[in-house]
Subunit: 215 residues, 2 copies
DNA sequence: CCTGGTATGTGCAAGAATTCACAATCATTT
DNA sequence: AAATGATTGTGAATTCTTGCACATACCAGG
């Protein structure tokens, strides 16, 4: 890549992903140009932040004018490597699992579920609306070329989370997105992102209270 | 509060919430003591970080010994104000909404859904397993003392997200947790936390690729 | 009651990330 | 073709965050 290999702040990547949301909307609306100021306002960040984040990867704007929406989005997709399809597998097809598998936004952004697993015998063999058939958790095997998946998503209950993670890793998966309440231990050579809503709620509760406290 | 009113890093609050997860487990297992080193390892942070985070709020440990699990958890709950019940309302009871309303972990941590809304006529009037009856989105009203809610959760499709947010705000809600793909604009005097999984996936995809790239 | 072992609490230094502020650049108008 | 106005790209200043390193404090055992 054209990456200036100097250190890129971790938060920069997440923000760049964030920028793509309004851009997608502007593209649909056929808006041609956008300024760092406008984009920043929509994402609740500082305009200089937007420009600096992008500058780690190249010069995508035109001075005095702004950024071309289509081009910038395309550059961002290249940066994030979301300009190709990524194959996902899911472990746990309860409400949360189904919500993800059926989420059209993920598909639109190139994230496609190609396998679904569950430990509950009642669910195994069932066909999901997306066309996938639920397989037993224990059958997660080395991912083959054809239907192989690259990212594992865990939406099981806490009891099965570690087992699911282990299976995914044995299957050669190098990245896991974990929604279960169980904090999966970072295994060697495998990226794990934990998503925990209740932390977000704790955060809101804390700030709500401290605002009240100050008033 | 006993808060040393010097500035507390924003990340500190999220980490403190994070620390409570392993602590809950140790409490169940009746483990009495825990060191900052052990807790840090479980949360993938630096031990000094744990101690410094806690030190913003008081001295909870014993030198030479460590932290008492029960006491520390109780202190953390006081800090996060999760030592009381918070009432939530949800807008959108698709798979994601149901997953949240039925999530026992949230309830265990004091987050209780007291109202559910949806725009889909087929869902309105239905009773959820938790006992809540789905009401029309348009009926979100000023939250009364009795069944009033303090935090609004949005799990609608993008088309209804902003409307839901507006209604919540009109109802006096000061904090919103938004799961919809639509980026809700930060309204005056109302906290908004956006949860977007696809950003996490973008993040994983990026790092997966850059690891490959370097090998 | 002293000594050794252990783990906290924290001042300070090092390191990151953010924001400022301005030179650089380009379209447009006169 | 020069002046104007707009907005980028980025070095430098600033602010925020993390981690080291050690004084401090406590328990246990002799």
């Amino acid at each position: 890549m054209t990456t200036k290999d100097s250190k890129i702040p971790g938060a920069t990547i997440e923000r760049i992903a964030l920028y793509s949301r309004p851009l997608e909307k502007f593209l649909e609306q056929e808006t041609e140009l956008i300024s760092s100021e406008r984009l920043a306002a929509l994402c609740n960040v500082n305009p200089a932040q937007v420009r600096k984040d992008l500058s780690y990867f190249g010069e995508f704007g035109v001075r005095g004018i702004g950024y071309n929406v289509r081009d910038l989005l395309s550059e961002i997709r290249k940066i994030l490597v979301s300009d190709r399809e990524w194959k996902l597998a899911i472990a746990g097809v309860g409400n949360m699992g189904k919500a993800l598998v059926e989420n059209v936004n993920l598909l639109k952004r190139g994230y496609k579920f190609v396998a679904a697993f569950d430990s509950n015998p009642e669910r195994i063999g069932k066909r999901l609306p997306s066309g996938l058939t639920v397989q037993p958790l224990t059958s997660i095997g080395p991912s083959k070329e054809e239907s192989g998946f690259e990212i594992g998503v865990i939406t099981t209950g806490p009891a099965y989370a570690q087992a699911a993670a282990d299976s995914f890793i044995r299957a050669g998966v190098r990245a896991i997105l974990n929604f279960s309440a169980f904090q999966v231990r970072q295994p060697e050579g495998c990226l794990v992102e934990n998503v925990d809503f209740s932390i977000k709620l704790d955060d809101l509760a804390y700030h709500l209270s401290s605002i009240r406290g100050k008033k």
